[in-house]
Amino acid sequence: MAHRLAGLAVIAVIAVLLPAFFPSAYYTRVATLVFIFALAAVGLNLLMGFAGQVSLGHAGFVGIGGYSVAIGATYLGMPTWLCIFVSAALSGLVAFLVGRPILRLRGHYLAVATLGFGVLVGIVLTNEAAWTGGPDGMTVPRLTLLTWQVRGADAWYWIAASTFLGGAMLALNLNDSPTGRALKAIHDSEVAAAVLGIDVSYQKLAIFVVSAIYASVAGSYLALFNGHITPDVSGFLSSIELAAMVVLGGMGSVAGSLVGAAVLVVLPQTLTVLHEYEHMVLGLILMGFMIFLRRGIVPSLAGAVARRRP
């Protein structure tokens, strides 16, 4: 218990100290985006890393979270902070309804089913322009808490960072709980887990719903932070990006999700100096990480450090 929270405490300390080093609001914005995507990645990690279920459509939940806030606040007159909770509940409900049939599939079949789900969400968001503004997206009202209108990267940095830390703590707790052990058993072998008395379909569905809620909150934050949302937030490429964050950082590692998100948000920013070679180098770096740190950045580095200790 102690070392688990120690890790989180270190991240918390860094999160508090980091803004002092930011030369401008641009860095604050990038860091905020890292925490927002890391939140979604932690959720996906629960599904992919702990329970071993592949999802290539998780950006669909990010889209649901973001658009629910946008539509709720714009058309239904709901206060924005309430919309975050309502959209999380909505995503959870969708995940429940979709997950029950889909999670019977395994491996690549599950991957293509979740991919289909993500694509479906994207299509609906693009086509139902009366509600969603269509391919150009819609404006999202700013987050208002009581009388404070939350604007600007500075405020959002704290909101995103603290939510991430909360979500990470939840995930770490889950890891060491009976549910976490059940998920690991399911990851190893669903048949063996069932034989041990674990209700496999219930556990898988539960974690699917939880991971959808993480993604939804991240989506809501993104929409409110940007003040604008477009359907490509739930596109195929966004889902791939999320999955890449999880795999890159290390499946099953919560800190890994943060690292993965950091790499995939910051790297494109730094690679702009390469102009048209940007994508080539990005692809090479991704491949490089996956080949040489194939268990993910954090587990591989942790393993390397552990091996060096006498």
């Binding site: 299509i123 990005l282 996956m290 040489f292």
Partner: protein, 290 residues
């Protein structure tokens, strides 16, 4: 009736395009359990290289041939430099490597080629054939025939040659295959090379219909993967059947239901099919070892 036939041929055309992509997925998966998301880029390379080589002065058939060779080389490089070194990585990691590779290849195409759309001249002329009141481009039949020939060739190779047996053996149990003396590295490399060739041929054949550009690979990979899964990954015939079904779903949805939602309807049907037939239409059941 004429309009039904028109939709049917549209579905056949689009399905044949997907079929060529799906076949590439199947072969690599069969020998190594890897889903290669770079398959779409092989198609792009085939089409774009042909266009640019022809524009540089090469005669068209030579350009197409050269494009296929180039793509095979890329496929082999992908295997040797990216998949091989990853060794015992988990399947998800391998998928991510292929995704990284597709980003790399797309980025390279951006720089080497350009960002515009290009076409190739159709092989049998552009005058449409009239079949039962529907107008069909001859190129659609070329693509279909190409897919059919490739399926037959693949089947012949797998079923009738020692090399094919080695591929199957590698897929079933890699350790056992090595124990009986099969060089599994070369087999997997070979399957990458053949998949790349299939992709390049696909690029050359479909470009007269679909046009080509540096980023044509992404959507094709997505649809080809879905088609391969629908048909049952691991079965070449399944890949073609799945692809044709997907094409038909899109065409008939666009024609009879809603063109806005045709892709959504197609994916929905795929989901329903997978839920009732979890191994796909023609897939073989997988034994899970506890």
């Amino acid at each position: 009736m004429a309009e039904f036939l028109q939709f049917f041929f549209s579905g056949l055309t689009v399905g044949a395009v997907y079929a060529l992509v799906a076949l590439g997925f199947t072969l690599i998966y069969n020998s190594s359990d890897v889903i290669n998301f770079g398959q779409g880029e092989f198609v792009m390379l085939g089409g774009m290289s042909t266009v640019f080589l022809a524009a540089a002065g090469m005669p068209l058939s030579l350009a197409a041939f050269a494009a296929i060779i180039i793509t095979i080389a890329v496929g082999l490089a992908l295997h040797r430099l990216a998949i091989e070194p990853a060794g015992d990585a988990s399947p998800v990691t391998l998928i991510m490597i292929t995704i990284g590779a597709s980003i790399f290849l797309r980025g390279a195409a951006e720089v080497i080629f350009d960002k515009r759309f290009h076409s190739l001249p159709p092989m049998l002329g552009s005058a449409p054939l009239h079949i039962g009141g529907a107008a069909v481009l001859p190129q659609s039949l070329v693509v279909l025939a190409g897919a059919g020939i490739i399926v037959v060739l693949l089947w012949l190779m797998i079923d009738r040659t020692l090399l094919g047996k080695a591929v199957v053996a590698t897929a079933v149990n890699r350790l056992a295959a090595r124990l009986v003396g099969i060089d599994t590295r070369r087999i997997v490399g070979l399957s990458f090379a053949i998949s790349a060739a299939i992709g390049a041929v696909a690029g050359v054949l479909v470009t007269p219909i679909t046009l080509t550009s540096y980023d044509v690979g992404t959507l094709l990979a997505l649809k080809g993967f879905a088609a391969a899964m629908l048909g049952g990954i691991g079965s070449a015939l399944g890949a073609v059947v799945g692809a044709l079904v997907l094409g038909m779903l899109e065409a008939f949805s666009a024609g009879y239901l809603s063109s806005k939602y045709k892709d959504a309807i197609a994916f929905l049907v795929i989901l329903v099919v997978l839920l009732t037939m979890p191994q796909g239409l023609l897939g073989k059941g997988k034994i899970e070892r506890v």
